[in-house]
Symmetry: C2
Subunit: 243 residues, 2 copies
């Protein structure tokens, strides 16, 4: 492995079967870098430009605002994730995206991207895999909101985040650094911030996990996985499918 690996190439390599040429071509797509301050918006719901990015460093979140001002976070992006990929082919962007920390992104030029994919089937397949994975994450998130109680929901969400971070080298079995506030958790989990606070306290008192000062600690990983019935398979990160 090269030590020029970025989180994104690391993730795509997890899918497997990419040559050095594939990776080089892909990296070449990601020329134009941009740095964004924490709190800044990257994409506005309803805009027509259809911009897409790859997130190199930092965290951001995609969300929708309802008429009454309520917010639902639809996805959290961590290094190695795509941002706004599904809007490049759409008339209008269906969500907003905002930086949660200072971030570094690479703009993706849609025509270039589509061109490269046409020339490199393996690369196209890997990107399609990444998109499918995002969709699988969203499906699990849907189940979370629809059918799980607040504590299980929280446990499941944080376990998933931990697993995703581990894949790109930003977390371990013991926990991860996490810039989210309780308000973000509330907006992601469809709860009120007050209730998020209570659920976190409960989980802490039960010795399951601690969320404090920007750090999530899995105090009893086994029990957490059991509580959430967390089955990591939907993240499909157990090694290359193609050889």
């Amino acid at each position: 492995m090269l030590d020029t690996q970025t989180p994104l190439t690391r993730k795509l390599s997890c899918f497997g079967g990419l040559s050095q040429d594939d990776l080089a071509l892909f990296t070449a797509l990601l020329r134009r870098k941009r740095n964004i301050c924490a709190g800044q918006a990257l994409i506005h719901e309803g805009e027509k430009t259809g911009a897409a990015y790859a997130l190199v460093q930092g965290w951001c979140c995609s969300y929708k605002i309802l008429r009454d001002g309520e917010r639902q976070i639809v996805d959290i992006q961590i290094p190695g994730d795509f941002i706004g990929l599904r809007s490049i082919l759409f008339h209008t962007s269906d969500h907003s995206t905002q930086a949660l920390t200072p971030i570094e992104v690479c703009e993706i030029n849609a025509p270039d991207m589509l061109g490269s994919l046409a020339r490199r089937p393996r690369l196209a397949t890997a990107v399609l895999w990444a998109i499918s994975r995002d969709e699988a994450v969203m499906a699990e998130h849907l189940v979370n909101l629809g059918r799980r109680s607040a504590d299980v929901r929280m446990a499941h969400f944080l376990l998933e985040l931990g697993a995703r971070l581990q894949l790109v080298g930003l977390g371990s079995k013991t926990g991860f650094d996490c810039p989210l506030t309780q308000y973000h958790l509330a907006d992601a989990l469809g709860l009120s911030a007050v209730h998020v606070n209570r659920v976190l306290r409960q989980l802490r008192e039960d010795g399951m996990l601690t969320f404090q000062k920007g750090r999530v600690s899995f105090d009893n990983l086994e029990a957490l996985i059991e509580l959430a019935a967390f089955n990591i398979e939907y993240l499909d990160q157990e090694g290359p499918l193609l050889r």
Copy 2:
């Protein structure tokens, strides 16, 4: 337009820019037809085969079952939709899919499909658009579960279904035929069947919509759209993007 149009080609044409050759090649992919009885499972969560299909006729639904037996329907498929597309690149299927009515599907052979997409960029783009659209639908579904009250949730869900059916010629402004039971609605909306019943009664008494005997009637479409704050843009079906 040909009158040999299927719901699927009709949907892909909505995206625009496909030549007769593109469509012919695509249709050729969908050789092997299968008929399935109502209630039969098509895909089992956890299976390794990675099958995918295009739905030609009838309805089906994709869902996950939780440990306690609860079910969450993740997506409803209507004619012209893909089934299980995101699992063709995965180790295991992350959901089950079941026929709600007698259905007719075409198997999709993954290697063939990927090959065709490599040779036909326009076609690849159209399929990518269809995938993006599925994802956009799921994102809106997520907002539905996370932040909307039961009545609004119901209104939004049925309006979306109506719009999707209209695109493939199976619905109108006045309503659509709908094989779902109240139990299906409950599992899709994260509610109990009892509460679904009450919500439907309320909507009926308010003159908004009637759900009876396999038929959804929009009694006051304007008011419904207002109630649900339904903005159709996320379905991206307002005419070709490419010309």
